[in-house]
Each structure stands twice: as C-alpha cells, then as structure tokens.
C-alpha cells in the first residue's frame, strides 16, 4: 500500500494561523494599534506580530512542511519536531504579546518575559528550519526552488535574531549587548527581512511550483526565475546590510531603505511577468477557487510593491507607508495564503480519504470537497475589506479602517468555516463518505501508513483473470 506523503501537523498549523488572523482582525476592529497608536508603539507591535508570526508564519510553516518534501521528492527530515516547533512558536508569540502588553501598561507582568519570548520563538523557528533545511539539502542537486526557500530561511534567522535583540533591549536587559544595542535603527530592515524574505521570497519560489502544478502550465524558463531570485536576494542582502550597518559604525542615512525596496520591487516585476505568463499558458482552462482568489492578491502585489520604494524615496507620510504595507501583508501575502489554503486543505483531505480508492470505482474529485460559489463570496468580502482598509489607512481615517476590517473578518471566518467543512467532507454525498471513524480529523492528518477497510483492496499481485 503506498503511503501518502502527508504532513501530520500541517492542519494544526493552519488552524492556529487562521485563529491568529481572526484575532488580528478583531484587534484592529477594536481599535488596537495603528492608526490609533503610533507605528512603533507596543499596541501596534502586538497586531503586527500576531499577523507576521501567528498568521503568516504559521501558515507558511504548515504549507512548507507539506510541500518541501513533495517538491524535492524526499521525506521530511525529523518529522517528530513539527509539534514541538508549533508549540514553541505558539507559546513564544503569546509571551511576546504579553511582553508588549506589559510595555503598553495594560497588564502588570514583568517585561523580562520579552527575552523569554524571543528565546522560545527562536527555538521554534530553529526546529522548523532544521526540518526544512535538512530536507532541502537531502536532495541533490539543490534546485532553484530550494534556493528560494533557503534564502528565505536565512532571512528568517536574521529576522528572529534581530527581533531577539530588540526584545532584550525593550525589556531593559540589553545592556550587555553593547554596540548591538544600536540595532533598533535597523527596525525597518527587521520587518523587511521578515515580510520580504521569509514570507515574500518563499511565497515567490513556492508559488512558481504550485501554480505550475495547479494550472497545468509549462515551467517558466529557469533563467527568468533565476532573475527573481537574484534581485530578491540582492534586496534582502541590502536589507541585512542596513540592519548590521550600525554595528560597523557606518552611517547609512535614512534613505538607505529605498535600495533594498527597489531591488525587491524589481524582483517582484520579473515575478509578476512570469505569473501572468503562467496564467495565460495554463492547460487547465477553468480556474479553480484558489487560482481565482489569488488574482486580487497578485494585483495587491502589483500595486503595493512598486509604490513602496517610491513612497519611501519621496518621504511619504507614515499613513501612506502603513497603507502600502497593509496592502502587501493582508492583500498579497494574506490573500494568497487564504486562497491556497483552500487548495492545500482540500487536496490533503482528498489524499487522506480517497487516494486509496483511486481507480477502484467512483470517487469525488478534489474540487468537489469545496463549496462553490459560497467560498467565492467569502473571498469577495475579505478582499473588499482589505481594499477599503488600504484606502482608509492612506486617508488616515482611523474609524473607517476599523469598519473596513469588518467584512474582512466575516470573509476570514467564512473561509475558516469552509475549510472545516472540507475536513468534515460536508460537500460529499453520504454514500461517498468513509465510515465515521475513518473520516479525516479536523486538526491532525492520518499520515500513518495503513489500509482503509472501506476500500476494495485489489492489488497487482492478484490479477482478475
């Protein structure tokens, strides 16, 4: 019996990620953080880290645990670390938010929680990195796709280490750091490495492979894809230089962040050209919900990424920079993640439930697991909220931003509900569902090798003559 290459804990990562997205949206609606508070105030930092670590990083981690082994055709290294990594990331993030809440004066807990949060998060990301790097390097030669992920993981390490330094400084225990204490000047570069490198560059690399698979499109020429990696790495290398410059005593000037942003925008332009070509050359003419719902995400990237360096160079007000960053985080990264979750969850659920029935009589298609057009409605609500929120932030109208997040919250809740329905096979006729005890579990994939008794177990060894 073949074994499905299913990552056991990916569904738990996704569930936690969605819970954090809902929490972030609820916090924004409640008026927590920017624009009610300053960009660097603890309240804003809570929302930013719930989005960056809780939502986007956990979703990315869950997806990578499933897809890295598939894309390099090697089993996941150290699979037993997936749960400890998740638990460390969850507790690290909760500690971090508690630390920020103490800094904001909302609760009276010791701010010494901050370094503890940083160490816990570092441990979680190191465990995740160990699994992914060991898996990627077990396949030779190291492919272009693997290089995107490796560069992204290097950016993650720089982000987490710089974040840990900020945490030590903010908690007042950073005196021993000496010159490293100058790092807070590098805050924009910390954000750039996290959003642009760990989340952005890996989203670029992974989406090339996934879009080719999902749309049955021809592989884009490696030379073109390499350009994206080169300019992306250049931009992220510059961001790292900006982060470390204060240590060398180098004066880089306030405008330096334009350089990495411009290189990333160029990488984004090359990437956009390739994605457009993939959509046009696809053999699968009817677009599924994940590819339809990705279109607004790519549009958000196309608007946000080129404008960010321009706005930074022009010395645009905070409101504009916040608006563009929001568009990229919620429109592009958030939208793309939500859209692809529909596909990843339905495919994994199908694999778990119906793969052993393949070729042995009728079975639902992967797409049959998703409720359409209802899922499309949730995405419309989500993107409408993001578009309104982007405009409200640019205009600096705090209450409009809060109200704009309402449809986004409803949309997200709807999508989360649809994903639960996919796991429960709610769209599948009763006669095509396996017995209850063999149905997929909500948070845990049945990754273990086993035969499914409801399947007719004919094998090649016993031909019907």
């Amino acid at each position: 019996m073949p074994m499905a290459s299913l990552s056991r804990w990916t569904m738990s990562y996704f569930a936690a990620a969605l819970a954090f997205l809902l929490a972030a949206e609820a916090l924004i609606i409640a008026g927590v953080g920017y624009p009610g508070a300053g960009l660097l105030e603890p309240a804003t930092l809570i929302v930013v880290h719930v989005v960056a670590i809780g939502w986007l990083s956990l979703a990315m981690a869950g997806a990578l645990l499933q897809f890295v082994p598939v894309l390099v055709a090697r089993p996941l290294a150290f699979p037993g670390l997936a749960l400890p990594a998740l638990l460390a990331l969850l507790s690290g993030l909760l500690l971090l938010c508690t630390g920020f809440a103490s800094l904001a004066g909302w609760i009276d807990w010791p701010v010494a929680l901050m370094p503890l949060a940083a160490v816990t998060l570092l441990a979680g990301f190191l465990l995740l990195g160990l699994m992914l790097v060991a898996t990627l390097l077990s396949a030779r030669p190291v492919t272009l796709f693997a290089r995107f992920v490796l560069v992204g993981l290097a950016c993650l390490l720089a982000t987490v280490l710089s974040g840990a330094t900020f945490a030590a400084i903010l908690s007042g225990s950073g005196g021993w750091l000496g010159e490293i204490a100058l790092l807070p000047d590098g805050l924009p570069f910390h954000a750039l490495l996290g959003f642009g490198g760990w989340l952005g560059l890996i989203a670029f690399g992974v989406s090339y492979r996934l879009l080719v698979m999902f749309m049955m499109a021809p592989e884009p020429p490696a030379g073109q894809v390499r350009l994206v990696l080169i300019f992306g790495s250049l931009g992220l290398g510059l961001a790292l230089a900006g982060l470390l410059a204060p240590l060398t005593g180098l004066e880089i000037g306030a405008g330096f962040s334009v350089a990495p942003l411009a290189a990333l925008a160029l990488a984004g332009a090359f990437y956009g050209r390739d994605i457009l070509a993939l959509y046009r050359a696809r053999r699968r003419k009817a677009l599924e919900i994940n590819m339809l719902a990705s279109i607004p995400a790519f549009a958000a990237l196309g608007i946000g990424l080129p404008l960010l360096p321009v706005a930074t160079a022009a010395g645009a007000p905070d409101a504009w920079l916040a608006s563009l960053t929001f568009l990229l985080a919620f429109g592009w990264l958030g939208g793309l993640t939500l859209a692809q979750l529909m596909k990843i969850v339905s495919f994994m659920t199908w694999l778990e439930t119906y793969a052993p029935r393949l070729g042995r009589g009728p079975a639902p298609r992967v797409g049959d697991l998703v409720a359409m057009p209802r899922a499309g409605l949730w995405f419309t609500l989500y993107y409408a909220g993001v578009a309104l929120g982007t405009v409200a932030l640019a205009a600096g109208v705090a209450t409009a931003f809060q109200y704009a997040m309402l449809p986004a919250l409803f949309g997200t809740a709807g999508i989360a509900g649809e994903l639960m329905r996919v796991r429960r096979l709610s769209e599948i006729k009763a006669e095509q569902r396996p017995p209850f005890h063999e149905c997929p579990r909500l948070l845990l994939a049945r990754a273990e090798e086993r035969r499914q008794p409801h399947v007719d177990n004919r094998t090649a060894a016993s031909p019907r003559a």
Binding site: A4, R283, T459, P463
Partner: protein, 94 residues
Amino acid sequence: MSAPLERLVEIALRDVLDPEMDRSVVDLGLIYDITATPEGAVAITMTTTTRGCPLAGFLKEAVAAAAGAINGITSVDVALTYEPAWEPAMIAAE
C-alpha cells in the same frame, strides 16, 4: 508482443482518473508505454505530473489494478519514470 492486449490495457486505464483534472491518466499523457506478451504479462511505464507527487504510489497501484482486472492478463508490472519529465504539452486535446 500483443497489440490487442495493449489496446485493452489502454482502454482500461481510461477509467483511472486524475482527481484534480477528472481526466484519465492516458489522456493526461502519464502513460509512456504499454507492452504485453501473448501470455498476458503486461509492463507499463508511467510518470506523474511532478516528481515526488504524493499521489504517485496510489496512481501506480490504481494503474496496476485496472490493468490486472482485464481478462487474459496474468501479471502486471508498473514502472514509474521521470525520463522524460512530464509536461503539459503531453495532455491530449479535448
């Protein structure tokens, strides 16, 4: 070699549908070669759309089962290959 038997196998494999595309492994161009001896021993060479496809093992087993169910087939051997790599141009026109 037994051409009618190979034809029968190809017809049987048209019932093995890809769960994504809802098209058969034959239409998708995943079956590279079918050879059968007059005694009924069949050898099938196939691929998957991507190396490391999580479905690979299941597809291989489904192909073996579909071929093995044909009257007159005594044994089935399915080999998975990625030479040449599958590409969308191999999909049969609808």
